[in-house]
């Protein structure tokens, strides 16, 4: 039994069971809303982490794909009556296509140049969508048609189904990350991330690797975009291409543990959880209190746990394992 507990798989399984059971155990819809946000931003973080964590391409413009996904599915829904499930995939494809020229431009840039260029691309898209109103409603944005309970059109009248949808998305993201981590692509990714020139020197086609991972990252981020606008019933350029989305995607990965499988999840739980708690305690009309506290926490984490919180959890986990191993040893004759 103890040896079973020390297997990583057990914990993942337990987590999965809890995750699935959560909406049934918790009745507060506000709590479920927080969980949905946590799962969604964890998913966005996981998508970002592929690029930013493993390949160390620190993009601050992922909102571009988030927005493209969101707008594609919305345009297909409202103008052509296409179900957002299909629209979601279409959005993913649009995002992948967009990632090609953006990547072509940005991958030649290093460090902060890359970051600023990605910010610029997301901003340009936002400005374009603000400008061209006839196509995509411009600054006013649009709300999703109220279809009541329409599962086939990604609209539900209770929160739990949204929760499960985004849970599945996160599971898919984690599975992809897990699979990539252990594949040849994963090794090349890390090599490129650690030292691109050295990797190139031993024959790794860095550009191709970066392009491929960008395709996947963009695709997944776009799925998140569709889900998000379906959930909040609204889209406008500022929301869809929001710089905050780009920042949060990177932030949760960094706080949780960049380049690790569970990092983004842990980071999101901390950041979104704290933010939600602060909002409900302090967010009652005293301008600035909750964000001040939130930013102080952020600074504290960055100063004292820069490797991300996953360091703490790994250490705790290791201690538990060491504990059970010792127990096993002393139990044996």
């Amino acid at each position: 039994m103890r040896r079973f507990v020390s297997q990583g798989g057990f914990w993942v399984g337990a987590l999965a069971v809890i995750a699935v059971a959560l909406p049934l155990l918790v009745s507060s819809t506000f709590a479920i809303d927080i969980f949905i946000r946590i799962l969604l931003f964890a998913f966005i973080g996981v998508a970002w982490n592929l690029m930013g964590g493993y390949a160390k391409q620190l993009s601050l413009g992922h909102a571009a794909y988030f927005g493209l996904g969101a707008y594609t599915s919305t345009i297909l829904l409202i103008r052509y009556g296409v179900s957002p499930w299909i629209g979601m995939l279409a959005g993913g494809i649009v995002a992948m296509l967009a990632s090609l020229p953006i990547g072509a431009l940005c991958f030649r840039l290093r460090g902060p140049y890359f970051a600023i260029a990605t910010i610029a691309t997301a901003q340009v898209l936002m400005l374009l969508f603000l400008k061209f109103r006839d196509f995509a409603w411009g600054a006013e944005g649009t709300t999703m048609p109220n279809l009541g309970d329409a599962p086939l059109m990604m609209q539900f009248d209770s929160k739990a189904p949204y929760y499960y949808v985004v849970l599945v998305l996160l599971a898919v993201g984690l599975a992809i990350t897990y699979w990539i981590e252990r594949s040849w692509m994963g090794y090349y990714l890390v090599a490129v991330g650690e030292d691109e020139d050295a990797a190139e020197a031993i024959g790794v086609d860095a550009l191709r690797i970066k392009r491929n991972i960008y395709l996947i990252s963009a695709f997944l981020t776009a799925l998140a975009g569709t889900f998000y606008v379906q959930y909040i019933y609204f889209i406008d350029p500022n929301t869809a291409f929001s710089f905050n989305v780009s920042v949060e995607a990177a932030l949760v990965s960094i706080v949780g543990g960049i380049g690790t499988l569970w990092g983004p999840v842990i980071g999101t739980v901390l950041l979104e959880g704290t933010s939600a708690l602060l909002q409900s305690w302090l967010g009652g009309g005293h301008g600035g209190v909750q964000l001040t506290v939130y930013s102080l926490i952020l600074i504290a984490v960055i100063l004292y746990r820069p490797a991300g919180l996953i360091g703490i959890l790994t250490a705790a986990y290791d201690r538990v394992i060491a504990g059970t191993k010792r127990a096993n040893k002393s139990a044996a004759p």
């Binding site: 507060s28 819809t29 506000f30 600054a139 006013e140 019933y233 967010g283």
Partner: protein, 406 residues
């Protein structure tokens, strides 16, 4: 060990003392409660406003007014049909952010037993709150002007004029200043800017006004001079800027700095708040605008304005005054519904028909909602900055001060 025992003893002693002292207090309180036993449970209403972020300044003013309004309702005896139940306002900061608005509207509706909500000042935010409220079947009152708020909704009520009506008023007012108005419309790229300016463009020719420039601009200007340069080149003799305060300040000052002689109708939004005048100073004197509510509209408005001014040191601005009226509309609905159930409140709102009291202190003095949540009597008023205060000057029936010629 001994120390633990001693401290336990000490704890026990302290507990006994505490109990002795507190029993007295509890008894007193119980007596008080027993006396108030007839008083009913408070009725919860929600207020969603941007207290932080880009609309923070107006949001804070709205929250102040919301609290004042609830105070006024309660001092007048609360909801009599519910045994004098007081209103309890639950405020939430939506941080000028659409996501937060979505979450907070949800949270308020689900965490508290609300009977109605009001908010959120900025049309972009209200649209989201309205969607959530619609699906949660919670009545929402708002002064936000976007015409979209009246489409396909049963739970959103807009007691004041719509963006399209603002546009009409602005155009009519331009005829007061010039016989052949050539208007430049510059508007910020937000829901507020686009909906208002659309109204202007659609109705211009019908009102005999020529639009010579129609340009959206990116909100958050670092410099208004390039915009003004363009306005000058367009040959306009009148400018309609549709904007929130920060850009408006820059625009007005840039006009002065660049020596551009042009009549201005600042519309609504950032133009009709005290801070506007405080920040542009005498340059703002005589400038025209439109508003869905003003503090000189009738005697009730003047009274509330006095109250507000005493507490907060500046006059009660458009949106804030409007939401005081909205609070009284909610109180009226609660009174007639004799229930805190949101569905009954919604139904009571849909049959609201007032022409006196604080609930009716808007332009026109009457509130009655049509099937799409619009107040059939709502219309905007034209306002003018006169001696540092905002006076209503248009239309004739609503004018409280003569139009100053500049």
């Amino acid at each position: 060990m001994a120390t633990t025992w001693n401290s336990t003893l000490a704890k026990r002693r302290n507990r006994r003392d505490f109990l002795k002292k507190s029993t007295g207090a509890v008894a007193l309180a119980a007596f008080g409660i027993a006396r108030k036993a007839f008083a009913a449970e408070p009725v919860n209403i929600g207020g969603l406003y941007p207290v932080t972020g880009s609309f923070a300044q107006i949001g804070q003013g709205c929250v102040n007014a919301a609290k004042l309004a609830v105070q006024m309702v309660n001092e007048a005896g609360g909801i009599k049909s519910l045994g004098g139940a007081p209103l309890n306002l639950i405020v939430s900061d939506v941080q000028s952010d659409t996501t937060v608005t979505r979450t907070e509207t949800d949270r308020l509706i689900n965490a508290y037993k609300l009977s109605a909500i009001h908010g959120c000042f900025a049309s972009a935010l209200t649209l989201i709150a309205s969607e959530v409220a619609e699906r949660a079947k919670m009545p929402l009152l708002t002064g936000s002007s976007s015409d979209q708020l009246n489409k396909n909704r049963r739970y959103t009520f807009t007691p004041f004029s719509r963006a399209s009506q603002f546009a009409e008023a602005q155009l009519q007012m331009s005829r007061l200043v010039s016989d052949s108005p050539k208007v430049a419309v510059i508007f910020e790229n937000t829901a507020f800017g686009t909906s208002t300016s659309n109204g202007l463009r659609e109705q211009a020719s019908g009102q005999g006004v020529e639009v010579v420039m129609f340009e959206p601009y990116s909100a958050g200007l670092t410099d208004a001079s390039p915009l003004i340069n363009k306005v000058r080149a367009s040959g306009a003799n009148m400018l309609f800027p549709v904007s929130y305060l920060n850009d408006l300040i820059l625009i007005i000052r840039a006009i002065k700095q660049n020596g551009l002689e042009i009549a201005i109708n600042g519309g609504s939004g950032g133009f009709v708040i005290p801070d506007f005048y405080k920040n542009v100073g005498s340059v703002g004197e005589g400038l025209l605008g439109v508003a869905h509510w003003n503090h000189d509209v009738n005697a009730d408005a003047l009274k509330v304005n006095e109250n507000y001014k005493k507490q907060y040191g500046e006059f009660l601005f458009e949106y804030a005054g409007g939401l005081v009226a909205q609070t009284f509309m909610i109180a009226d609905a609660l009174e007639r519904a004799a229930s805190t159930d949101p569905q009954k409140v919604r139904d009571a709102l849909s049959t609201l028909d007032v022409s006196s009291g604080y609930a009716a202190m808007g332009p026109g003095g009457k509130v009655k909602f049509g099937p799409n949540g619009k107040n059939i009597y709502a219309h905007p008023v034209g306002v003018q900055w006169q001696h540092g205060d905002l006076a209503t000057v248009f239309p004739k029936e609503d004018a409280r001060a003569p139009l100053l010629k500049t």
